[in-house]
């Protein structure tokens, strides 16, 4: 098997470490009830993503990846957490927490998902030629865990954070499996995410207007009489 760029052993070690941190943060997000903590963890996830992307850029010599690392830093570490924080402040939902979630069961389900993701990624990563291919499993696990978070949570803001974390996982999959997507696509996705958050922010206000709460359980009662 030929490698695109020979990574040195310490770089791979650090990349593996960062990937493990990403997975750890996903689990921490699953275990948190408070919305504010979730936003902080999301920002941390962005930070790890930025670090790992710039490390891949440094050791593979692909300068495009520096731009996407900078984009990650700007969007996911600074802009989105700021917007989300302002949103929950405006909504008066700073101290919202999900009380009805059974955390141990969710975590167990998460563990199963991780095993599934690792098993699924094993044959795929055999075909990849990049040295970072082992991380495909972690990226898949992060995506599935974010899915799980969106499924189990009831509050609207939390679901949006789950959605954003899923995008983080996809981004990580892209850098680890193929050294990143073309710049145009990446910019497009970044813009989509940003606009998506704005639109969902508007939805939050609408939902609250309608039901006087951000709990999405109320949506189930939405029927035409």
């Amino acid at each position: 098997m030929h490698l695109l760029h020979p990574f040195t052993v310490p770089v791979i070690n650090v990349l593996n470490l960062l990937a493990a941190c990403l997975l750890l943060l996903s689990f921490a997000m699953l275990s948190r009830r408070r919305t504010q903590r979730l936003i902080t963890l999301f920002a941390w996830q962005g930070g790890i993503l930025c670090l790992s992307t710039s490390l891949v850029a440094y050791s593979s010599g692909l300068h495009e990846l520096y731009y996407s690392a900078a984009l990650t830093l700007l969007l996911k570490v600074i802009a989105l957490p700021l917007i989300l924080r302002r949103l929950i402040y405006r909504l008066g939902a700073e101290w919202d927490s999900e009380t009805m979630v059974n955390i141990p069961v969710t975590m167990l389900a998460g563990l199963m998902l991780v095993i599934f993701a690792f098993g699924l990624a094993q044959p795929i990563s055999m075909m990849a030629t990049t040295i970072t291919r082992n991380m495909l499993g972690i990226a898949l696990a992060v995506i599935l865990l974010s899915f799980l978070m969106m499924i189990t949570r009831r509050k609207a803001v939390t679901q949006v954070i789950g959605f954003l974390a899923m995008e983080n996982g996809l981004f990580f999959a892209a850098t680890s499996a193929t050294y990143g997507m073309p710049m145009v696509i990446e910019l497009g996705i970044a813009l989509d995410v940003l606009v998506g958050v704005f639109i969902l922010g508007l939805f939050f206000f609408q939902i609250r207007e309608q039901f006087e709460s951000l709990d999405l359980r109320n949506m189930e009662n939405l029927k035409e009489e």
Partner: protein, 318 residues
């Protein structure tokens, strides 16, 4: 050569017994600083022990011999554990005698004795504390075992000295699973030593007590021994953590003479200072959990340790 290792072993145990209260005092001082209170002196635990040893012991009329011998059993098991854990050097007779799983058994023995003694008198708070302690214990043990299996996957042994030697043989490899194991270990340490997210060691409210509730009936020298044993337990857990995750400076197999040993003492003290302030920081930042949230906390520790195993299988170094 045989004799000198026994002398060293003896020295290590004496050092552990001597500085364990100091470690507890240091944590209390850091906590006080971080919460902007005026701090008690670092030597406060020693003063308390001296005060307690000078008092006359009072025993409940219903106390059985078990209640009397428990403080000595606790202190004895903790001293033995301190001898097994390679806090200064790996080439010691006791360190090779038992592996980490036996060590967990030793801690379990101490827990069983303390719980039985707490139930012995028959007061409500004592048996409540004992039951809570057993609940925490049975949840924390599997998590700790998983952490140790994680380390043994890396270095192929469950004996702590071999782990330290194995680590020192390949110091450049950082395995990603270590992060998971370390986080899980810190969570277990907090739960097992009655630190803040699970139990508040400084509480005066009996209803929320776990560890303290079991000691309510003890007084004078018995209480002093139990307290000293719990300082030693915290010290032992810290040393297990050092041996598993940051074994720098521990005199390894084949290291000769006083130089390596002196270095290992300095390294141990330095690590204790850092670990103590880190523990105080964690305790300051977190609030005590409701008792029904404790299983959640420990289930998370267990899952993290299992995740560490999985991550090791997927992207293990080398």
């Amino acid at each position: 050569m045989r004799g000198i290792t026994f002398v060293r072993q003896f020295g290590e145990v004496i050092l552990a017994i001597a500085i364990a209260p100091l470690f507890a005092g240091w944590i209390a001082q850091c906590r006080a600083w971080m919460q902007s209170r005026s701090a008690p002196p670092v030597t406060q635990p020693y003063r308390m022990l001296r005060k307690l040893f000078n008092k006359d012991a009072a025993l409940a009329e219903t106390a059985s011999p078990l209640f009397r011998i428990t403080p000595y059993v606790l202190f004895g098991t903790m001293v033995l554990a301190a001898a097994i854990i390679p806090s200064l050097a790996t080439d010691l007779p006791f360190a090779r005698a038992a592996d980490a799983i036996a060590l967990i058994g030793l801690f379990a023995t101490a827990r069983v004795f303390l719980s039985l003694a707490a139930m012995d008198i028959g007061t409500g708070f004592g048996s409540m504390g004992a039951r809570r302690e057993m609940m925490i214990g049975f949840l924390a043990e599997p998590a700790l075992l998983m952490v140790l299996f994680n380390a043994s996957l890396l270095y192929g042994s469950t004996a702590l000295p071999s782990l330290v030697d194995g680590y020192r043989a390949h110091p450049t490899i950082i395995d990603p699973s270590v992060i998971f194991a370390a986080v899980a270990f810190v969570m277990v340490l907090l739960a097992e030593n009655a630190r803040i997210p699970i139990d508040n060691p400084a509480t005066h409210l009996e209803l929320t007590m776990i560890h303290e509730a079991m000691l309510l009936e003890y007084s004078a020298r018995h209480l002093a021994l139990v307290e000293w044993a719990s300082y030693l337990k915290l010290f032992n857990y810290a040393c297990i953590g050092f041996a598993l995750f940051v074994p720098w400076g521990i005199a390894i197999h084949g290291a000769d003479g006083g130089g390596a040993l002196a270095l290992s003492i300095v390294a141990l003290l330095g690590k204790l200072v850092v670990a103590g302030s880190a523990l105080a920081l964690i305790e300051t930042l977190s609030a005590k959990l409701r008792i029904f949230r404790a299983p959640e906390f420990l289930a998370m520790a267990f899952l993290l340790a299992v995740l560490g195993l999985l991550v090791h299988l997927l992207l293990g170094a080398r």
